[in-house]
C-alpha cells in the first residue's frame, strides 16, 4: 500500500507476462571483482556445507563437495579449502583500498552464510575460526541499510524489476529470471513452473534426497575399500554438482543482467561504496588487533550497533531521494518529498543588510509528510534550506510557505514559475562516527542498570515530614 507504484508495476507485469523494470538506475554496487558463493547444506544439518561453488564474475565455478558433512574431519577439510580463497580475496581488496563483495542466490542463502559464520567462529580449529571471521564481515553487514558486502541475487533483482507473482515467490532465483527473460511463445506461468522444479535454495530437493543422495551416502559409508569409497565420493560429487552449478549459473546471470549498460549510474551508490570500504578496513583492523567477535552483543556493543544502523537508514534514504529518480518519485507519491511550483518569493527587510526570504510553493500532492517547523532542503541545485511556516489548502492545491535558512543568496535570485523538490538534507555519513565516539565516552563505565549487580537501597538520613503527601502537595 505504501508503494502504489510497485503495485501498479506488478499488475503491469502480470498483464504482460513479463517482469517490468521499476527503476532506470542501478540500485546496487557491482564490484568487478565480486565473488559468487553458492553453498548447499544437507537436509536436517542446517549448519553444514555439503557442497560449495565459488568463482568470480564471469568465471566458471570451483566446486567443492564432501561425501557426508556429518563427518567432522571431512567437513573441516572442505572449509579449509575455502579459507585461502577468501583470505586471498580479502587481502587483494584491502591492498587496493576497496571492499570484498559476495553474491549469493537468495535471502535464504544469505541467512545460511550468516548462520555458518557465527557457528564457525566458535570451533576449535584456528583455520575454520578464521573462515568464520571472514564470513562474519559479510554476515554482520547484511542487515545494515545500504551495505554492499553481501548481496542476494534475488534481492538485487527485485530492486530493479517487478514480477506478476507474489513477492515471496520472487525468492526463487530461476523463477525470477524467467519472469525477467521469459521464453518466447510460452505461457509465463508454465515457464515459471518449470523453472521452479530446479532447486535454488540451500538444500537439495527431498525427492532427489530420497531417491539418489541418501542411497549414495549410505553406499559411501558401507564401502569396504578406499577405492570403493572414492568411487561413491565421486558419485556424490557429480550428483551435487548437478544441483549446485545451476544455482551458481543463475547467480551469474543475475549479475550480468544488473551489469548491463541499460541501468544508468546512480550517484547515491558512490557514497555507499566509500562507506563500505571504510567499514571493511575497520573490520580488518579489528581482526589484526585480535578483537573478539562475540556471538551475543554486550549492552554497549548492542547500543552502538543499533545507533549506527539507525543512522545508516537515514543516510541511505536521504541519498536515494537526492540521486535516485525512482526513489524521488516514490518520495513524491508518499509525501516525504515536497514537489511544488514556486509561486512567490517574499523578501522581508528586517534592518540594514538584514533580510529574510519566504518561499511559497503550490503543490497538488495528495499526501504530504510535513509539519510547521520541519526543515526541508532543496534537492537539486543550490544548497538551500527552508523551515516550514505554513501549510494551507486552497482548492485542489496545498500552499506551503517556508522561511529560508541556508542559501538566502540563492533564494534572492529565484523567480516564480519552476517546479522544485524539497526533502531531507544530504546524507552525512561522518555523523555515525561522531555519534559512536560520543557513545563511547558515555559508556566508558558500565551503568549498574545494564550490569549484573543491583545496588543496595540507601535510605535517606534527612528528616521525613510526618504527612509526606501533604508536605509535597504544598510544594506544587
Amino acid at each position: 500500500m505504501a508503494d502504489l507504484l510497485h503495485v501498479a508495476a506488478r499488475l503491469r507485469a502480470l498483464q504482460n507476462g513479463q517482469a517490468v523494470p521499476t527503476v532506470s538506475q542501478r540500485q546496487v554496487v557491482i564490484q568487478p571483482h565480486a565473488r559468487i558463493l553458492t553453498l548447499m547444506s544437507m537436509a536436517g544439518e542446517d549448519t553444514s556445507v555439503h557442497a560449495a561453488a565459488f568463482g568470480g564474475f564471469g568465471e566458471p565455478a570451483q566446486v567443492f563437495v564432501v561425501a557426508d558433512p556429518r563427518r567432522r574431519d571431512d567437513q573441516n577439510a572442505l572449509l579449509r579449502e575455502l579459507l585461502p580463497l577468501f583470505e586471498d580475496y580479502y587481502a587483494q581488496c584491502r591492498a587496493t583500498g576497496t571492499f570484498p563483495q559476495i553474491w549469493v542466490s537468495s535471502t535464504g542463502a544469505l541467512g545460511h552464510l550468516d548462520t555458518l559464520a557465527d557457528r564457525l567462529r566458535f570451533t576449535d580449529e584456528p583455520e575454520i575460526r578464521r573462515l568464520g571471521e571472514l564470513w562474519t564481515y559479510a554476515g554482520e553487514r547484511s542487515p545494515v541499510a545500504g551495505q554492499q558486502a553481501l548481496i542476494s541475487a534475488s534481492g538485487a533483482l527485485r530492486l530493479h524489476y517487478a514480477t506478476g507473482q507474489q513477492e515471496a515467490e520472487d525468492e526463487h532465483l530461476l523463477a525470477l529470471l524467467t519472469w525477467i527473460d521469459p521464453p518466447r511463445g510460452r505461457d509465463i506461468f508454465a515457464a515459471v513452473a518449470t523453472a521452479e522444479e530446479t532447486p535454488m535454495g540451500v538444500k537439495t530437493d527431498p525427492l532427489f534426497d530420497r531417491s539418489s543422495l541418501q542411497p549414495a551416502i549410505d553406499d559411501f559409508h558401507k564401502a569396504g575399500s578406499d577405492a570403493e569409497r572414492a568411487f561413491h565420493q565421486t558419485r556424490i560429487q557429480h550428483m551435487l554438482e548437478g544441483v549446485i552449478r545451476p544455482i551458481y549459473t543463475a547467480t551469474q546471470r543475475a549479475m550480468a543482467l544488473l551489469g548491463q549498460p541499460r541501468w544508468r549510474d546512480n550517484p547515491a551508490l558512490d557514497e555507499l561504496t566509500q562507506q563500505e570500504g571504510d567499514e571493511f578496513e575497520r573490520f580488518m583492523q579489528a581482526r589484526d588487533g585480535g578483537h573478539f567477535l562475540p556471538y551475543h552483543d554486550s549492552a554497549k556493543a548492542g547500543a552502538m550497533k543499533i545507533a549506527a544502523r539507525e543512522r545508516a537508514v537515514t543516510n541511505v534514504e536521504a541519498g536515494m531521494l537526492r540521486h535516485d529518480h525512482a526513489a524521488r518519485e516514490r518520495g513524491v507519491v508518499k509525501g516525504s518529498v515536497l514537489r511544488g511550483q514556486l509561486v512567490d518569493v517574499r523578501e522581508h527587510h528586517l534592518g540594514p543588510w538584514l533580510f529574510e526570504y519566504d518561499l511559497v510553493l503550490s503543490s497538488h500532492q495528495d499526501s504530504l509528510h510535513l509539519r510547521p517547523g520541519d526543515e526541508l532542503w532543496l534537492m537539486d541545485g543550490a544548497k538551500l534550506s527552508m523551515e516550514i511556516a505554513e501549510i494551507e489548502r486552497r482548492g485542489p492545491f496545498t500552499w506551503v510557505t517556508g522561511r529560508v535558512g541556508d542559501g538566502k543568496r540563492a533564494a534572492k535570485k529565484m523567480s516564480v514559475g519552476p517546479t522544485l523538490d524539497f526533502g531531507p538534507g544530504a546524507p552525512n555519513w561522518r555523523s555515525i562516527g561522531l555519534e559512536l565516539g560520543q557513545m563511547s565516552i558515555r559508556l566508558t563505565n558500565e551503568p549498574w542498570t545494564h550490569g549484573d549487580l543491583l545496588p543496595p537501597a540507601t535510605p535517606s538520613l534527612h528528616p521525613k515530614p510526618a504527612n509526606l503527601r501533604a508536605a509535597i502537595e504544598d510544594l506544587t
Binding site: 549492552a299 537515514t314 509528510h369 509539519r371 565516552i441 558515555r442 542498570t449 535517606s460 509535597i472
Partner: protein, 451 residues
C-alpha cells in the same frame, strides 16, 4: 492485583508508596500508569521531593522538547520559588511563557549545571551528549519511559545512581528505525522499552502501578482497560463528564454526536467502503465537517463540575500518518486553527475533551504490524476526557477477520505484538458494534455489521 473500592483513595495510596520509596533509597522504581492517571504529576512530585526534602540534584528526562516544556511549566510553579533549569541546545526556541519566567533558567553547557540541590530538565537526546563518563546527579526521573528504547537509556543511565522510570506500558513501543533481528530473542535487548529491559535484567527492582485514570471516564475505561490493559486493572476517577447541545440534532451526523451526548463516550462513524491508501481526502473532509457541526450545534460540556461552552481548542484530531494529519489540517481553515491535529506518536501525553480519530486501518487493503499496533490504537482512543469519534471506512472488521497474524514470534519473547494488536482491534470493533455505537457518515450508506 486487587482494585481499591475508592479510586481516589487508591491513587493517593499509590502516590504515598512512590514518595516513600525515595526515602528508602531504592536504586530504581518502575511506575506503570494507565492513560491519564497523572504520571507527569507524579514525576513533578518526585522531582520536588528530591530537590527539597531529600536535598538531591535531580535530573528529569523527557522524550521530546514539548514534554520538557510542559513539565518545566508545572515545576516552575512550585511554592518555594525554586528555579528550574532547562538543559537544552542554545538554538531551541522556548515558548514565550517559559522564556519570560524568572524561575526558568536555560542551561546550554555542562559547566553551567547547578551544583547543589536542584531540578534540571532535558530531553533524552540532549542528555546523551553530556561528555562525561561519571554521575553528575543523585536522582534521575525518566518521564514517558516506555517510549525510550533501552539503548538510549543506557546512554544516560549512569548520569545518576538512582532512577525512577515512569510511563504507560500500553502506549506505542519505542520507535527503532532499523533492522533488529539480531536482538529479537533478547527480552532486554537494546530495542526494548527501557523499563521492560531493566526489570528483565533486575527483576527485584521496585515496581508500582497507578490504579486510576483521572482523564478517562468510566465508559471509556470499560472499553480501554480490557482491550489494552488486560493485566493492569484500573478505574475511572471522574464522576461527571458529559456533553450537550443547545441546537437540536437534525443532520445525519447528529446521530453520532447525540450518541456521545447519550453517554457512549466512544463511537464509530463509518464512511462507504473504499480502498484509499494512506490519504483519504473524503474522510478528512467528513471529519472536518463533523467538527464544524459539533461547534455549530453550540455544544456545552461538563468536566467534573465545570460547565462551559465547547470551543475549537477543546478538540483534537489524531491520525496514524503525517500525511493524514496534513490532510485534516489543511482543511480546517483559520476558524478552526485551534483544533490540535497530530499523529498518535506525538499525541502521547496530550489530552483534549473531544477527540476525532482517523482509524489506522481505514481504507487499507492490508493490515500491517504498524497499523495493527495495539499501542497506537490505545493512544488514539485514550486522549479524550469526554467523547471520541472514530472515523473509518466500512469493512474494517471484515478486513481483520480476513487477516491472519503471521505469528512471527521469537524464542524467549512472551509478547506477540501483532496478535495483541489484532485482538485489541477486533475486541474493540465487536464491542462497539454490539453496543450499537456504529453510525453512518453524513453521506454514508448502511452501517456494516461488525460482529
Amino acid at each position: 492485583m486487587s482494585v481499591a473500592p475508592d479510586p481516589e483513595a487508591a491513587a493517593n495510596a499509590a502516590l504515598d508508596a512512590v514518595l516513600d520509596s525515595q526515602w528508602r533509597g531504592v536504586p530504581a522504581l518502575v511506575l506503570r500508569s494507565p492513560p491519564g492517571a497523572g504520571k507527569t504529576g507524579v514525576a513533578q512530585r518526585v522531582a520536588l521531593q528530591s530537590a527539597t526534602y531529600l536535598q538531591q540534584r535531580c535530573m528529569v528526562v523527557t522524550q521530546t522538547n514539548e514534554q520538557a516544556f510542559d513539565l518545566t511549566r508545572r515545576l516552575a510553579e512550585n511554592a518555594r520559588g525554586m528555579p528550574i533549569y532547562m538543559f537544552a541546545k542554545k538554538s531551541l526556541a522556548l515558548p514565550d511563557d517559559l522564556r519570560r519566567s524568572a524561575r526558568v533558567v536555560p542551561v546550554h553547557r555542562i559547566g553551567d549545571l547547578p551544583q547543589g540541590p536542584s531540578i534540571t530538565i532535558g530531553n533524552a537526546a540532549k542528555w546523551s551528549w553530556v561528555q562525561t563518563p561519571d554521575p553528575m546527579f543523585d536522582m534521575q526521573i525518566v518521564d514517558e519511559a516506555f517510549q525510550l528504547p533501552d539503548y538510549r537509556y543506557q546512554l544516560i543511565s549512569n548520569l545518576a545512581p538512582r532512577h525512577a522510570l515512569i510511563g504507560d506500558p500500553g502506549q506505542i513501543d519505542p520507535f527503532v528505525n532499523c533492522e533488529i533481528e539480531r536482538w529479537r530473542c533478547d527480552p532486554s535487548g537494546p530495542q526494548v522499552a527501557c523499563p521492560v529491559a531493566l526489570v528483565k535484567r533486575h527483576p527485584t527492582v521496585l515496581q508500582l502501578a497507578l490504579p486510576a485514570s483521572r482523564r478517562l471516564n468510566a465508559d471509556t475505561v470499560s472499553i480501554i482497560q480490557p482491550a489494552f490493559y488486560p493485566d493492569m486493572p484500573f478505574r475511572a476517577m471522574s464522576r461527571d463528564r458529559s456533553v450537550g447541545f443547545q441546537v437540536a440534532g437534525i443532520m445525519p451526523f447528529d446521530a453520532a454526536l447525540d450518541g456521545v451526548a447519550g453517554g457512549a463516550s466512544i463511537v464509530i462513524v463509518e464512511l462507504p467502503p473504499q480502498i484509499t491508501g494512506e490519504a483519504d481526502s473524503e474522510l478528512a473532509q467528513e471529519l472536518v465537517a463533523s467538527i464544524l457541526r459539533l461547534l455549530r450545534r453550540r455544544a456545552w460540556m461538563s468536566d467534573d463540575g465545570r460547565v462551559r461552552d465547547v470551543t475549537a481548542a477543546d478538540i483534537g484530531v489524531v491520525c496514524a500518518h503525517v500525511s493524514q494529519v496534513n490532510a485534516v489540517r489543511e482543511r480546517l481553515g483559520p476558524g478552526l486553527s485551534e483544533v490540535f491535529v497530530e499523529t498518535a506518536n506525538r499525541f502521547q501525553g496530550i489530552e483534549r475533551p473531544f477527540m476525532f480519530v482517523h482509524h489506522p486501518l481505514s481504507g487499507r487493503a492490508d493490515a500491517t504490524a504498524f497499523h495493527l499496533d495495539a499501542g497506537r490504537l490505545c493512544v488514539m482512543l485514550s486522549r479524550h476526557r469526554i467523547g471520541c469519534w472514530i472515523f473509518g471506512r466500512q469493512g474494517i472488521t471484515e478486513q481483520l477477520t480476513r487477516f491472519d497474524p503471521v505469528g512471527d514470534r521469537a524464542l524467549g519473547i512472551d509478547d506477540d505484538p501483532e496478535y495483541q494488536g489484532w485482538r485489541a482491534h477486533l475486541t474493540l470493533l465487536v464491542g462497539l458494534s454490539r453496543a450499537n455505537r456504529l453510525f453512518p457518515a453524513v453521506n454514508g450508506r448502511a452501517v456494516s455489521s461488525a460482529a
